[in-house]
Subunit: 469 residues, 2 copies
């Protein structure tokens, strides 16, 4: 469990002249959800977008630096351990077949940024805890305390085939291993006390072996001796992030996570997840403020709501019909390829497809008056929570979520880049700052400080006054 | 096997005014062997050294940038997968207990350098080929073609315990797995043809699936489906580096390596290794020029040879006597802790210790007239090949090795940092340049181009004219 402590410097205000009057307002946390560019499958085709941004380091560097200028909490990198299995007509149109590996990309970004957090996705199913502990510790040292670990158990069966497993590990077993993996990794991070390194050239003593702990873990899934061959991370532990939506995933999050990457469809859904996870935390004695719930939110900005909607429609129209219709067929549980693309959605019989998912699709078509083509392209593009409007209307929605406990902030999904990102950093962020619900400058230097999270105590060593900063 | 091709731009000369007359001379290749600082156990205590350099990114960044200014071929990072098992009195004086992880460090360095090669050590015994292939490909893309993979099989039994193995894998089995691992990794790098990515916003085609290959490897040790989820590396494959000294290691190098990190004791030894490995290459039809032999060389520079020797003696004196005497005892196969530290080495009976190693130690003590203490501290500090002298005498030795086929260059071990590094970059390198045996500027942009190595063809796809650059 995460020990509780007073967040470092969280309420150290800059001078009065730099602040709006409403200093005590709840503050939004903002991450950028990158894959490493947009999740929208049509994004690379949008006018003005860089078609190669997905694996052009110079572009991604410019995005990270722009996000840092806008004081984003973190650059959050999604990941896959395989070329995703999809129909060839969809696959050949997908920019996700090639992308940087998260540790290498985020380490490179660490060297060219100063403040923004760097969250890497890493799998507990297809990697080894000594490597994972070491790489995150190293990234945390290189970045001066800006690393975060998005723990995933990897449910993609194609990934299993890349790691010598014919059959994918079953859900319960994956979560069981994930829990033990987390214990080992955090235990390895605590291999050295914060004050273990003396480095006294005079006496020749480099470190105090009394302040080194040999983990000696022998569990059901893992056996790891330790110690880790790197000093304790500047943050104590990199920030623990999770996205699990299942019951097991929410429980693991309540026990171990410090940020949750949720995927509610709407505010009511968001409030329910928020209440559930924070409730589980209270039940086990954790301070609910020590975990930030940050849903993914797709943001499209326009001068008017109509213009923003038109941009989204334009973007959706770039999704190839074959992949679009496949998404719609899955959602309906019914082959939609025979429908008239330019007519409204016809009546379809109920099937085994998720009832709520099917109803949501039908409601979406009705509310937005979408043709079959438009509906399919929405689903094949990006169909999650979206704020589409003016900087003011988007800020209104964000503020409502914050105040009604739908979330602690958002992981922003950009529709296309660079312009869709610039629209957020130069138009939405200033509006949030004007309202006093988003920082004008970083209060601290570490991702923990940005998120208002306590620094975990070393489970094996009490901090001395000097090491506690 | 590495396909042969004409090295890219290797002989494209700059203008005549920038060149010495001896353009056609053989050229030395220079790597910096970093751990990530000095291998000498007393280095961090040397006057003026940074005691925290081992895991201070700002220092290491400044070292890499200085090496690049001096036109070094590569920054070569050694690695261990454990805190090394040594007596506590030696351990607590060792800076190697904490160090950066290679992929994270080299990726960060990639973002703040432009030309220098970045060679990471990665183990075939304790890692998985999909991860390794992906990380090196990613580092190669981020760095614009500067990555190299130092393939190690990891002989340290302490590492095994950190990866769930009670018993260390036997030598032959490790090499067997290494060979298959290499085939899988290079096969994954060839997942996409160089021209697979079309990225045409108009048609919406991102890549040509006909130019993607699914590896489908099922071998004795490994089962990996593929394809890799990243485009082919800019270098085709990152440069393959090996250090194996054993018969199996030399054979693997002759078959697969493009650079060998050798450890000869002296020129005669160097010539023998050089002739052996290049002979093995000829025997299997590889061009011997497509592998560069780069022994580790410890370099100490002075205004006079005496001054350089005095610096080395000073550095050796910083090695703690307990760890020093342990090294001497191992070399002699005899407990040396009872010897008078300040007397010459007494006669000792022959034992089971390596005969040649024992004789070398005795000869060293006689040649340099070392006391027991000095001899022990030499062995406990750095006892490999060393060039200790003036810029001229060091250049003389390097030139002799190059011309007598003792090596193609060196991996320089710096005695202490930053000064020991600056002595090489600002005094030895200019002398080598004056003699026309080291570049004044990089001829190309990739590590392959620096080393004069051909770009491997994709084994699954013939290059088209456009993709061949």
């Amino acid at each position: 469990m995460i020990p509780r402590a007073v967040p470092l410097r969280r309420h150290d205000s800059p001078t009065i002249f730099e602040r709006e009057p409403m200093t005590e307002q709840k503050q939004l946390k903002l991450g950028a959800f990158m894959r490493p560019v947009s999740l929208h499958t049509g994004a690379w085709r949008y006018p003005g977008a860089y078609p190669d941004a997905n694996f052009n380091f110079q572009h991604i560097k410019s995005f990270a630096q722009e996000l840092e200028k806008a004081k984003f909490d973190a650059f959050f990198m999604a990941d896959h351990l395989a070329v995703l299995n999809m129909p060839i007509e969809a696959l050949k149109r997908s920019q996700t077949v090639t992308s940087f590996e998260p540790f290498t990309l985020l380490s490179a970004l660490a060297a060219v940024t100063d403040r923004i957090g760097l969250v890497a996705t890493a799998s507990t199913t297809f990697d080894l805890p000594y490597h994972i502990a070491r790489r995150f510790a190293s990234l945390d040292h290189i970045s001066g305390g800006r690393a975060g670990w998005n723990i995933v158990t990897t449910s993609n069966p194609d990934a299993a085939l890349n790691f010598g497993l014919e059959e994918h590990m079953e859900h319960g077993e994956r979560y069981h291993r994930a829990r033990e993996f987390y214990d080992v990794v955090t235990g390895l991070w605590d291999s050295f006390a914060d004050d273990a390194f003396i480095r006294d050239p005079e006496s020749g003593i480099f470190f105090d072996p009394e302040r080194m702990h040999v983990l000696g873990h022998k569990g059901e899934e893992l056996s790891v001796r330790g110690p880790l061959n790197i000093a304790r991370p500047p943050q104590g532990w990199p920030v623990i992030v999770q996205a699990g939506q299942s019951d097991a995933g929410r429980q693991l999050a309540a026990e171990t996570a410090e940020a949750v990457f949720a995927a509610p469809r709407n505010l009511a859904d968001g409030k329910s997840i928020f209440a559930d996870i924070k409730g589980r935390m209270k039940a086990i004695g954790r301070d609910p403020d020590h975990l930030k719930i940050l849903p993914a939110a797709f943001i499209v900005v326009g001068d008017t709501i109509e213009e923003a909607k038109a941009k989204r429609a334009k973007l959706d129209s770039l999704v190839h019909y074959d992949s679009a219709i496949a998404s719609l067929s899955i959602a309906l549980g019914h082959d939609a390829s025979k429908f008239d693309p330019d007519a409204p959605l016809p009546e379809t019989p109920e099937t085994n497809a998720s009832k709520s998912g099917r109803e949501r699709v039908i409601a979406l078509a009705e509310t937005e008056k979408l043709t079959v083509r438009q509906l399919a392209q929405r689903l094949g593009g990006y169909a999650g929570l979206a704020f589409v409007g003016t900087p003011q209307s988007i800020a209104d929605e964000m503020e409502q979520w914050l105040h009604e406990e739908g979330s602690d902030g958002f992981n922003v999904v950009f529709p296309f880049l660079p312009q869709g990102l610039l629209d957020v950093t130069t138009r939405v962020v200033p509006e949030l700052q004007r309202r006093g619900i988003f920082r004008r400058d970083y209060e601290g230097t570490t991702l923990r400080e940005h998120l208002g999270l306590p620094r975990p105590e070393n489970r094996f060593f009490k901090a001395t006054a000097a090491a506690a900063q």
